[in-house]
């Protein structure tokens, strides 16, 4: 037997590999952003001088260029940006003159709160729908038509939910629950829990539709497998079969696709943040892209990339928990 690396060394290796992946993602995203914003029209110096269309004098322009290194050759600017990203210093915003890190971090909190609550609610709704379907499918006898109707309704809801545009759904929810019933405020501030409700629901419903369809497909698949029949033969009811057997099988691919869902969440967050007047990373990103505020765009995207890497680690861990087989086959994903 050769000596296998000890647990601490293995952990170290894993962390190193992860850090390498994170660095790669960050480097590529930063490069793409830099190149794209370069290729885009508009002079970044305008961001410094109070937005595009500024009528600042030549001295002001020169001063701003010098201050932000915009007079350097392109490749030096690129290296400078990279260096800043690497040292997590990120520099100062062109437009706001405050450190990018402060801006990005203060925007990250509200977006994270929104995304996490939407992810949780989306999963809960999807789980509820999947459970309802598996329960309704088990209904037999005189109530069988009711069961089939429930299945059809849930399936319909999922299809519908997954194609509701955020901007429209949000507006409808505001009209109903803020203006009509006055249950929740129409605008949202990070401090207020009530204010989080409508944005969360706006983001969660399409997500629930998407996850629900994946989950439903998986549950349906697992339900027809012999182990599910065996479980029923042991007297397990639909809820137990769902909770202990089929859900887990269905959850594995669904969890794997949560990374995909995350990308949609971030995009959805921009819409929702704009709609509900809520601060956040998405809005920051849009605003600063429009202003060509390169350091902020870079900072925001790098943070999103890092969060994504983190999320991948979490989903991989969850997948590992759900599916012990992955651990033994050691498949590289």
């Amino acid at each position: 037997m050769t000596t296998t690396p000890g647990p601490s060394r293995r952990a170290l290796l894993r962390v190193a590999a992860l850090a390498g992946r994170a660095l790669l993602v960050v480097w590529v995203t930063a490069t793409v952003v830099f190149l794209a914003l370069r290729a885009a029209g508009g002079d970044p110096v305008e961001a410094v001088l109070g937005g595009p269309g500024s009528q600042a004098g030549p001295e002001a322009v020169a001063a701003a260029r010098a201050q932000y290194g915009l007079d350097l050759p392109i490749w030096q600017q690129y290296l400078l940006q990279l260096w800043r990203v690497l040292t997590l210093d990120l520099g100062d915003s062109y437009a706001r003159r405050t450190p990018v890190l402060d801006l990005v971090l203060s925007a990250l909190g509200p977006t994270a709160a929104l995304a996490v609550s939407a992810l949780v609610l989306g999963w809960l709704l999807a789980l509820g729908a999947a459970w309802l379907v598996s329960w309704a499918r088990a209904v037999s006898g005189r109530l069988a038509p009711v069961g089939r109707a429930v299945v059809a309704v849930v399936r319909g809801w999922e299809v519908l939910a997954s194609v509701l545009p955020h901007f429209w759904l949000g507006a409808v929810l505001v009209a109903l629950f803020a203006v009509g019933l006055r249950w929740f405020p129409a605008t949202s501030t990070p401090g207020s829990l009530a204010g989080l409700v409508l944005p969360t629901v706006t983001l969660a419903i399409p997500l629930a539709g998407f996850l629900g369809q994946l989950l439903g497909e998986g549950v349906g698949d697992a339900e027809s497998r012999p182990f599910a029949t065996t479980a029923r033969a042991r007297g397990a009811g639909p809820t137990r079969v769902f909770a202990r057997h089929t859900l887990r099988h269905a959850a594995i691919p669904t969890v794997a696709l949560t990374g995909w869902a995350f990308g949609f969440l971030v995009s959805g967050a921009v819409v929702v943040e704009t709609l509900f007047g809520r601060p956040g990373l998405g809005r920051l990103l849009v605003d600063s892209t429009l202003q060509r505020d390169v350091p902020v765009v870079m900072g925001a995207i790098v943070v999103i990339a890092l969060v994504y890497v983190l999320l991948t680690v979490v989903t991989e861990a969850v997948e590992g928990l759900l599916d012990p087989r992955a651990a033994t086959t050691g498949e590289d994903r």
Binding site: V25, F167, G263
Partner: protein, 268 residues
Amino acid sequence: MRARLLGVAGWAALAVVVLLLLAVAAPDLLAPGDPDATDVTTSLHPPGWGHPLGTDELGRDVWTRVVHGARSSLGVGLVATTIGVAIALVLGLAAGLGPRWLSTVVARIVEILYAFPTLVLALLLVAVRGPGLAASVLAVGIATAPGYARILRARVRGVAVSGYVTAARLEGAGWWRRLTRHVLPNTLWPLVVVVTLGIGQAVVWVAGLGFLGLGALPPAAEWGAMLNAGRVYLTTAWWLSVGPGLAITVTAAALTVLGRALGRVSPS
């Protein structure tokens, strides 16, 4: 025999899709008017005779616009999904069939693509290429690619090591034959369900980009743009969003249902 398996919902979905295709091919059959013809004297009329879905703020007939919008809206979904699937095919097949290092490279590419949410891509593309549907469609296409790629890769791997691909090899089939006869058909069919789901979503995503001013150019009768314009009048003229909203959801639902039915019917 297979048609019977479609079921009532499948048939209804098929009917909707046929209607949609009709709207795409010959919109004038369903709505003979000019979708861009304005008439401020009839602005914001609620649904009624002559205007089944009402009129918008410029007095344009919503029904006519919805029908004529099918072409660009469906096009949006189809093109975006095609782009996504095409990228995913290359990535997924390379990762699933190629050597281990290639699979790792693809995994990293997918990871990087994931890190660019739809919106970020759209923003950058619009910044570089100027606004319009093309940039949004491309962005949505690219942004959906990693998801498809992931599904594909897992599937391709499973198929590649499956007994029937091995059996084909033992029967003397070369790799091209194995790829085209066994691997591709068995990986692509399951994707049909996901893809039909994706078309509807793509329409919605492009619409969402329209909300941020990154979508179709006016006065294009594109559903997303119409829905977005109608949202402003949600409290004063609800019918503006009902027409395009229904069009988007019914289309997406029909495609999804049809995809599911096809997935069931497909020999598997």
